[in-house]
């Protein structure tokens, strides 16, 4: 009997433990809701209280000594090592005693989401500019307080091209600070160009005539002129040319999908004609078109600048901006920005000191294969010495088209035009207009639904 009672006691304890564990699990979510909603209200108060205090303090001081800034990023390639190096340098050099730890994470948005749910967010993160609105709406990012912004100084906005600075502003708050931009780059094979009797393209974008003549000359010389694949590459070329032909993906507010225009159909047809006329057959993910170029089997490939660090090791590689084939110049690109994931005033200040330093020293970041966003760095003659390929494409950054800052907008658009672009480029769809019209309809439906979800 006693033995049995002990068993019952044991089971009861076990059940209790499970119950507590289960409550811990579900409690986590309620815990999420509490800190996430209440701190925002608290913080607006704090933000209002603090300015006087911090205005008096002014800038970065010894008061921040001992602060540890943990920064996450999606920089998992060689650029991540470069960033870690910069973090170590700042930690050693800064006179305030701030330490920065850099952690590169694949699938960083998902990591941030789960960290937010578990209340385990770092101090700050590198974000792709396109994720800012979504992460802000979903209580992952915290707006920069007035005190934090004061660290950057008053004239900070004029230090950046308007397109990239404005992109960090959302719902009346500043959520992110521009670090770099990454426009498409035209990589070319110097040897094959010379063989075809062509001059190398300079840092001014080639005109449509020059571009097409070059392609034809390359074809006549018996090489594959250009490598055009599908997936990311097809979609970004389409997005560049739609703007060049005078169209756009959305209206200015990002509430209306507009890629069913004549310009859009023209852009897609143009990418397709390049592929059919001048490219070997390439398709699929994992950037196979870049491999074709690296192997010396195609004279040109147009792709993101993150391939620079690899491609510049090839003796034959040259770098130029995307050609201008339409009325006005435009190029697809993104921007890495620095955003805060904490409301803690001191943590925010410490992070701001690091951001400020990083931005001023972003000439070193150019080595990692990105175009520094800061004007004084990007336009300095030093850039050409430190990172010549970056200097070749730096002038195009003013023409980088950044989507309006609307939550989940990129997914709503790309998820629909992407498959159409692929289908056309793979020869599975011939009626371009109908395909785009159908996709715009679905995009619009998703945009409307997102608007309902996120308000606005």
């Amino acid at each position: 009997m006693k033995a049995q009672n002990r068993w019952i006691f044991l089971i009861a304890t076990l059940l209790l433990v499970i119950l507590i564990a289960a409550c811990g699990g579900s409690g986590e979510e309620t815990a999420v809701s509490e800190p996430d909603t209440s701190p925002t209200t608290q913080d607006t108060e704090e933000v209002n209280e603090n300015p006087e205090e911090v205005d008096a303090v002014g800038q970065c001081t010894d008061a921040l000594s001992g602060q540890v800034v943990e920064m996450w990023s999606p920089l998992t390639g060689p650029d991540g090592d470069e960033m870690s190096g910069l973090a170590v340098r700042f930690s050693e050099e800064n006179p305030y005693g701030i330490t920065v730890n850099h952690v590169a994470q694949p699938e960083y948005v998902q990591k941030l989401n789960t960290a937010a749910a578990a209340d385990q967010l770092p101090t700050m993160t590198v974000v792709r500019v396109i994720n800012v609105a979504e992460l802000a709406e979903r209580n992952v990012l915290s707006p920069m307080s007035a005190a934090t912004l004061a660290v950057f100084g008053d004239g900070i906005a004029s230090e950046f091209p308007a397109n990239v600075w404005d992109a960090g502003q959302y719902a009346g708050e500043r959520y992110s600070f521009p670090l770099d931009m990454h426009p498409l780059v035209m990589y070319y094979n110097k040897d094959l160009f010379a063989q075809a009797g062509l001059e190398e393209p300079g840092t001014t974008p080639m005109t449509r005539e020059e571009f097409e003549q070059a392609l034809q000359a390359l074809a006549d010389s018996g090489v594959e002129p250009i490598a055009i694949g599908t997936a990311f590459q097809g979609a970004t070329l389409f997005q560049s040319f739609i703007q060049q032909f005078g169209g756009s993906l959305t209206d200015e507010a990002g509430t209306q999908a507009t890629f069913d225009s004549e310009a859009a159909a023209e852009a897609l047809a143009y990418v397709n004609s390049l592929k059919q006329q001048y490219s070997p057959e390439i398709s699929g993910g994992g950037d196979p078109e870049v491999n074709v170029f690296k192997q010396g089997n195609a004279a040109i490939v147009i792709h993101g600048p993150w391939h620079i660090s690899d491609i510049q090791k090839l003796p034959f590689a040259g770098f130029a901006p995307l050609p201008q084939v339409g009325e006005q110049y435009a190029v697809w690109g993104g921007s890495h920005q620095l955003a805060l994931t904490t409301d803690d005033p001191e943590q925010q200040l410490a992070a701001a000191c690091w951001i400020s330093w990083l931005s001023e020293n972003s000439i070193d970041w150019a080595k990692a294969g990105q175009v520094p966003a800061r004007n004084s760095v990007r336009l300095s003659p030093e850039l050409a010495e430190v990172a010549a390929p970056i200097a070749a494409v730096a002038p195009t950054t003013d023409s980088v088209v950044i989507l309006p800052q609307v939550a989940e907008l990129e997914g709503a658009l790309w998820g629909q035009f992407g498959p159409v672009v692929d289908a056309v480029l793979m020869g599975e769809m011939s009626d371009v207009e109908a395909g785009l019209a159908d996709a715009v309809g679905k995009s619009q439906q998703i945009i409307d639904e997102n608007k309902e979800r996120y308000g606005g």
């Binding site: 599908t230 994992g286 491999n291 989940e408």
Partner: protein, 314 residues
């Protein structure tokens, strides 16, 4: 067991509330308790919570916006005009196609392998280990490995095909090559599991049955069809069932090898659920898809047992 159960109440037929406990035999419940704990924590509770979530528009990071939508998430799956309809049913079709590609080889090849490995020959333990080894890998390792083998620019297979002067297809971005690649990767990765189950069942078959069949003049193939297959029937049903379920849950291989392409033709239901729930932050809708999928799998399993499990001795 039954005797003990009968005798116990007689011994303890003393009036009183406490004694009632003694009539209630704790032992079997204690035995299932360890499993029950994990089952409740990791299956029953998440399933119930999923059911609950599926009735809301649910984003776990936005507790401030979580409207109750009733059955709308389910109805969207059947409403031609909804955002989810096309993508979901394309994914269902793709998953069905993969079942046709993968289940027959995974069952038949596993059975043949098991019969081979059941034979008496030198080093059979080593071979058993070798065939089972890939199963110990994670899906990531298996899928990335096969991506390198199949990828079209400098991949192993195309490298050899090129040397032989044969055509080199874009394995991962054309149809049906993408399914073939995914199926081969899946077979290589998981066939060891089915094989081991078949092997265990084969060893259970009494050798006297084979002897009897041999005396009656049955050759090896007749022994296989008239002794092995009937004796394996319950295990066969079990293996078909778990293979169906495993294949219907295909995600890692297309996610890592094809990205759902070409043209979303290898985008499976689980892949779609991932996009809906994780990338589009629509946990409610994603849960509804999961529950619907679970219902289909339960039906398939029940049908499978009903159709093929009849007349079993066990």
């Amino acid at each position: 067991m039954t005797e003990i159960a009968k005798s116990q109440p007689e011994d303890s037929r003393i009036p009183g509330a406490v004694q009632r406990w003694q009539r209630f035999n704790m032992t079997p419940y204690l035995f299932i308790l360890p499993h029950l704990i994990f089952f409740s924590a990791f299956l029953a509770w998440p399933f119930a919570y999923g059911l609950y979530i599926s009735l809301f528009e649910f984003d776990f990071l936005r507790p401030e916006y979580r409207p109750f939508v009733g059955l709308e998430n389910y109805l969207n799956l059947f409403n031609r005009g909804s955002i989810q309809f096309d993508d979901f049913w394309r994914a269902m079709g793709n998953t069905g196609e993969f079942l046709l590609w993968s289940v027959p080889p995974l069952v038949i090849l596993a059975l043949l392998l098991a019969v081979l490995l059941n034979g008496r020959f030198r080093g059979r333990t080593i071979f058993r280990t070798i065939y089972f080894a890939p199963y110990a890998l994670s899906v990531t390792v298996a899928a990335v490995l096969w991506w390198w083998i199949f990828q079209s620019q400098g991949g192993l297979i195309n490298h050899y095909l090129e040397q032989l002067g044969w055509p080199t297809p874009n394995w991962l971005s054309s149809m049906p090559e993408a399914w073939i690649a995914i199926t081969i990767a899946t077979i290589w990765w998981t066939i060891g599991f089915n094989t081991v189950i078949f092997l265990a069942a084969l060893q259970e078959i009494p050798s006297s049955l084979y002897e009897a069949a041999a005396i009656d003049g049955a050759g090896p193939s007749q022994q296989f069809w008239y002794v092995t297959i009937p004796m394996l029937r319950p295990v066969l049903v079990f293996v078909i069932t778990i293979t169906l379920i495993a294949s219907a849950n295909l995600f890692g291989q297309p996610f890592l090898m094809t990205g759902g392409g070409p043209l979303q033709q290898t985008e499976t239901v689980i892949y779609r659920i991932y996009i809906e729930g994780i990338l589009r932050n629509q946990m409610g809708s994603a849960s509804a898809m999961s529950i619907f999928m679970a219902a289909i799998l339960i039906t398939l399993t029940a049908l499978n047992f009903k159709l093929f499990g009849q007349n079993t001795q066990r």
